[in-house]
Amino acid sequence: MYEIVEGIAEAARLIITLDPGVMSIAARSIIVSFTATVAATLISIPLGAAINFGTFRGRTSLINLIQTLYSLPTVIVGLLIFLLISRVGPFGFMRLLFTPTAMIIAQTVLVLPIMTGLTISALSGVDTVIRDTLHSLGATRLQFLANVMKEARFAILTAVAVGFGRAISEVGAAILVGGNIMASSFSGSTRTLTTAISLETSMGNIPQSIALGTILLAIALGVNLVITRMQHR
């Protein structure tokens, strides 16, 4: 058990000394997962709204499908993206494999189902009288959506928190399409906190893994404080 204490102490040391290696890994994690979460939010909110407020055939099946995709293993997402962007894949010409961009794409795809599902759940929780009131006040489609979201802001931001959590904590997709590269340049590297944790663990460096995990949680705490602040506005 001493590894845990040692790990947390090591985390403190790394943070205080601003260890450049760890800082760059942490920064990459934040950039990748934050970008993926933002992208997924921008897609899942209109998508969730369209599904929730829409009346089309197959709506229930679609919701079912989305819920099913909560179980999509990260490795499978990684594989699918890999097949698409590997040199012989349809998007191979873009040379995205083993770049942070590829990781962002993979994480976006990974968190889309859960964020869309939770968005649907959030929006469906808004009282019908509130919705009718907005319509009767002459809201345009956009005004309607903006205000329904405002009413559901707590649950919508929960969806964002869940999405960010899943993105920053996943490793399977990141390692497959990113490659866990530690290159000499920041942009050439694709090592994130989770892929680094995986690596350290596979090499038996448990305290180092726990240190990196602690740093990851510290980042998540910061992000969540911001989200909570927004929820209670």
Binding site: S86, F98, N180, S202, M203
Partner: protein, 283 residues
């Protein structure tokens, strides 16, 4: 201060390697030297042998570094790889609990395997943990079983609780063997890296069959014309250069008190490869 009037974009070299090689940090050490010499950036992607070969086959990397002779040969024969060069070797070791319940210490590898199997069938305290992940190490293990006269799929896999397939990397397999007080086959590098946390000791480390040969090869530019074949060539040549071979031979001594690899250059005869494969640079 000096200013570079024409800042050239650094070229990138992508290398797929097996985890066990990457875990030793040998490549990190060498790549920084190479980057300096060639004004390039080396991207190392470490993965299981199978996945590394897959990356190579799809042209996603420029260089492949593995240690699985049979599959390398197929890969070359299929035309995906060219210009294989052998740069290092070491030996696999059979490790197990200090108590050595099967009593195999000092045996020949094939004999030790046979003994573990026989005793394991009778005594539930005798267990062998296999990588079970089609890695180079796993291939070697299968070769030993075959050498001992067994049909791997029939006589070994699923033949009883004594034989466990871990289906994971070397580190995790060692951890599992340690927990279960079992035997396992390991490469020397990973074992040394984990030694501090393990109660396992080396029981068998001699025998030709334990030989572990590392090579580097280029991905065939005829299949993938736009891969970085020039730099790939440079890397392979760099690996067999005299300076690099010296670096390899001394790597790890400061940390473990013994080298992790032997340089291949002068020992080509002992390790069963041609001289060309260890010393002739690619044209």
């Amino acid at each position: 201060t000096t200013t570079d009037p024409t800042p050239v974009e650094k070229q990138q070299l992508r290398i797929a390697t097996t985890t066990s090689l990457d875990d030793t940090k040998l490549l990190n050490h060498l790549s920084s030297i190479f980057e300096e010499q060639h004004n390039a950036e080396v991207l190392i992607i470490s993965a299981g042998t199978g996945k590394a070969l897959e990356y190579g086959q799809r042209g996603d990397v420029d260089v492949l570094m593995v240690h699985d002779r049979a599959r390398e040969d197929t890969f070359l024969a299929d035309g995906y790889g060219i210009n294989r060069r052998v740069f290092a070797y070491n030996f696999f070791i059979l490790v197990g609990p200090e108590s050595d319940p099967a009593g195999i210490k000092g045996m020949k590898p094939e004999e030790a395997f046979t003994t573990i199997r026989e005793k394991g069938m009778a005594d539930k305290n005798i267990v062998f943990v296999s990588r079970g992940d089609a890695s180079g190490t796993h291939s070697k293990e299968q070769a030993i079983w075959k050498g001992a006269g067994f049909d791997y799929a029939k006589d070994i896999q699923g033949s009883g609780d004594w034989y466990i397939e871990a289906g994971t990397g070397m580190g995790a397999t060692l951890t599992m063997a340690n927990e279960k007080e079992a035997y396992t086959l390991s490469d020397i590098g990973t074992y040394l890296a984990y030694k501090g946390d393990l109660d396992l000791v080396t029981l068998v480390d001699e025998g030709d069959i334990l030989l572990n040969v590392y090579c580097a090869m280029q991905i065939n530019p005829e299949k993938y014309p736009d891969i970085n074949s020039e730099l790939a060539k440079d890397w392979v040549n760099f690996m067999i250069s005299d300076e690099t071979q010296k670096e390899i031979a001394s790597f790890g001594v400061d940390k473990y008190g013994q080298p992790l690899f032997y340089a291949a250059q002068n020992d080509w005869a002992e390790i069963g490869v041609t001289e060309a494969e260890v010393s002739v640079p690619i044209a």
